[in-house]
Symmetry: C2
């Protein structure tokens, strides 16, 4: 795997502006590289046949502050794990999602890019304590033994269950803490603050080239993805008070509209030596 070196110098103003914008999102902490690359492929190259050159990947990760060696190691790991594959293309290589990787990306896409909550209703379901429920696949959250919170109303004819709707303010703190642990709620608060700062700083995209727009876009999607995929598919009103997922979702959607997905051909053109 040969990665092209990033362009040795950049037109000063655009890069300074990009760094200050990207700084809103990353702070001092750099994302896990292989996970960030999953976000890159999911955002840019989920279509069948879509490929990204080593040059584009090198430029994007460099913008985000990732060293070429770390990118190489992460690409190797993703190939080994079956997420991506590569093809030689002249002096360089192109990378693309495997069938399995595309399926994983497609499954996560609705949650990450949703502009509306994953669900609008929550149901508290009490199951027979003598019959351990194996129904972990409901997409809800078990808040205690025999107590499930789910977005799907159970069949009212099912006389083995007790079910009642949870409206805003119904769930006590111990229940909301089981639906979303305090660490995840705190992460969502942190991200909401960062996205708000970016939203304030990004009055226009002037001075940003297509690679910088894409790098910002990737950082936004990645920040929200790490939270959205860990949260159960339940309405925001059953989350803890600290949960800021609704704000993250709205800011992500708005920022991604202002930082639209760039054509792969344009990115390749910009990254070409």
């Amino acid at each position: 795997m040969a990665l092209d070196k990033p362009a040795p110098d950049d037109a000063g103003g655009g890069l300074i502006r990009f760094d200050s914008l990207a700084g809103c999102l990353t702070g001092a902490q750099k994302p896990t590289v292989w996970s960030l690359l999953v976000t890159v492929f999911g955002d840019l190259a989920q279509d069948e046949g879509a490929r990204i050159s080593g040059a584009v990947l090198g430029r994007l990760t460099d913008l985000i502050g990732i060293k070429p060696e770390a990118t190489r190691v992460a690409l190797h790991r993703l190939r080994k794990d079956g997420w991506i594959d590569s093809r030689r293309n002249g002096r360089s290589s192109d990378y693309f999602l495997t069938e399995w990787g595309r399926a994983q990306s497609a499954a996560a896409t609705p949650r990450i890019y949703a502009t509306t909550p994953a669900a609008t209703e929550a149901w508290l379901v009490l199951t027979d304590p003598a019959t351990p429920a194996g129904a972990k696949e409901t997409g809800g959250a078990w808040v205690a033994s025999s107590m499930l919170v789910t977005a799907t109303r159970p069949d009212p004819e099912d006389r083995t269950l007790f079910a009642t709707r949870l409206d805003a303010g119904d769930a006590p703190a111990w229940m909301t803490a089981k639906i979303c642990d305090p660490v995840l709620a705190h992460l969502s608060q942190d991200l909401a603050a960062r996205l708000t700062a970016l939203d304030d700083a990004l009055r226009d995209t002037g001075g940003l080239d297509c690679l910088q727009i894409t790098a910002l876009r990737v950082l936004i999607v990645h920040g929200w993805r790490r939270i959205a995929l860990k949260a159960p598919a339940l309405p925001d009103h059953v989350f803890p008070d600290a949960w800021s997922g609704a704000a993250c979702r709205a800011l992500t959607a708005e920022l991604l509209q202002r930082l639209p997905r760039q054509a792969l051909a344009d990115l390749e053109g910009a990254a070409a030596p």
Copy 2:
């Protein structure tokens, strides 16, 4: 403790009628004697200063089919346990509830003689699983870990609890079975059938003397007492389908009206040798 012997022979017709009526209630099974005597004292001699002679106790227990020796043993046990005390009265003894025994009887009386359900509303309360609730004194039923069914609505301001009203048909079978176990529900069905049979057979109290009326009354109260005091103070609609407590309560109230409490002086007169 000297118990007078029962009158050696009785006016035939009245006794035959009594036996067939009492047979509706007892079937082949005789009640536990000391427990039945608690019912006798609670029904006849709960007032301060009220006493029952050995003669009356002997006649009542004999009518119910209890041997004099068994009555003597039971009275001894009740004295030893602090329920009752006795005073010599000429050749015989009088028996009466202790202060403690009167307090126990008074506490149980509302449940036993109630003509209305112990409660009209039921609330399902979910408590924090991390905080074991010691609130067993609520009078409700714990249907699972952290799940209480109670007649009292919790303070809506208490944000540590989730509470919702349980209406008719809301509670699944596993929950109603925890509120009232199947054995107790079956006992209530059996008693309701017996009380219905007695209700049919007892078109009038003609031919029954005051001791016989009292013995029937005691059997009715005793049958219902054993069930009513074991059931939680919750509305009938959260009990299992088999639960017939509402029928027992209504039949008991109706039969006791037709078999009114007899004056102690009249009983003493009838039992006098």
